[in-house]
Symmetry: C2
DNA sequence: CTATGTCCTTGACCTAAGTCAAGGAATCTG
DNA sequence: CAGATTCCTTGACTTAGGTCAAGGACATAG
């Protein structure tokens, strides 16, 4: 998807020859930090989380990936983080060797990857601001707005998002505990800013208030 | 420097034709977040900090840049962060337009930039782990080891680093207050793990202990 | 070399978020 | 569709780090 955007049909054919579709159950690992980085992946359905661990098990989720997102594009010998399916998902697997060979012939792909990486860096810096300087309420508001933005990018409209990940995963993404995430959801609900609906749906009833709380995004 | 590594002398000449050296006093701003991103910079001496602000003035320093480092390479119309000299510094300025034109002709530069961006992403993820999940003590230990690693990269040996930035800047980098940073330095000193020497020098007397505290780097 | 500002340190106290614990609501599984 | 997990919520209490305040140590400038 995203990687393919600037290619013509013949180039696309060359690229798809390298792809292998992979089906993942919820909770299935894609790869672990430190493993030799043989593949690059493109998410086609579901939600993937990427995370790093400290020796004692503390976890930082550095991102949630949705259809169209890339992972594993580091120019390193080993993966810098672990990746695991949050929900049942499908991804396209590319061999890194073959992709790099193809990149020699199709510099557009390289340009596209640079563009993706630059964008990820911008997102990473916003996440550092969130982790280092925002309160729990501000973090959760920012998170919900991020989900809404992603839902919009995927053509969904309306003011409702599907929170596919657990409170624990959200906590590990925002630098909070499960309990604090839960309490903050409850508090936002009691303030009439969000509504908690069945099957992981959250309605952002007062998006203006969320934007205000999130602090300028 | 880093960008030039893979170029031959003729290519280097083309690149240096685009460079303008800029001298900065301590505290001088390089650019502000949101400004149109006309230039890319390469640090040649001194220390630069890059940061993001919340509307109420809370600050997150997303990185410190040392000689050889790049900044502003985002593929966006505006800078995603502000940049300011910590100490008196010199940087090389490149016009983005001209650099992009040159990149069309010298794909090696693009490859190099992708490699730099990928590496920055890895560093950013480590910083997220630090900000979201490490204690004050672990954060400060990680910070000192980062400075040591950078000093090593610049050919300095020994177990002493120069802390060119203020306690306040360090706090804004680690998601802590000035006071907590100061107390943590004092505590590490009292434990015999570091020594605070004159003129911003810190001796990492027990590097093994710092590595242990930092949590596996 | 003395004054003046900035930075650093330390102390006393406070609070946001973490921890521990226990019920309750979903959601899988046979 | 009962039983078993797993996940979510809430309450009571603790604590790491923040806040406020005040000296002290460096710098830089006159």
């Amino acid at each position: 998807m995203t990687i393919c955007a600037p290619l013509d049909s013949q180039e696309l054919a060359q690229l798809s020859a390298l792809m292998t579709p992979v089906e993942l159950d919820a909770g299935a690992p894609l790869f672990d930090e430190g493993e030799t980085a043989r593949n690059v992946f493109n998410v086609t359905s579901g939600t993937i989380k990427v995370y790093k661990l400290l020796p004692d098990g503390r976890r930082q989720v550095t991102g949630f990936l949705f259809p169209g997102d890339f992972l594993g594009l580091a120019k390193q010998a080993t993966y810098a983080f672990s990746a695991e399916a949050v929900t049942a998902s499908t991804v396209c697997r590319f061999s890194r060797d073959k992709l790099e060979a193809l990149m020699q012939r199709l510099p557009k792909i390289e340009q596209r990857l640079l563009s993706i990486a630059s964008n990820e860096l911008v997102v990473a810096q916003e996440q550092m601001l969130l982790l280092g300087r925002k309160t729990a309420r501000e973090k959760v508001a920012s998170f919900l707005l991020m989900l809404l933005k992603r839902a919009r990018q995927h053509g969904r409209s309306g003011d409702t998002v599907t929170v596919t990940m657990s409170r624990n995963d959200i906590g590990d993404y925002l630098g909070l505990t499960t309990e604090t995430v839960s309490r903050t959801f409850t508090q936002l609900k009691q303030n009439g800013i969000i509504q908690l609906l069945p099957s992981h749906q959250v309605r952002l009833a007062r998006r203006d208030a969320l934007e205000e709380i999130a602090g300028g995004f």
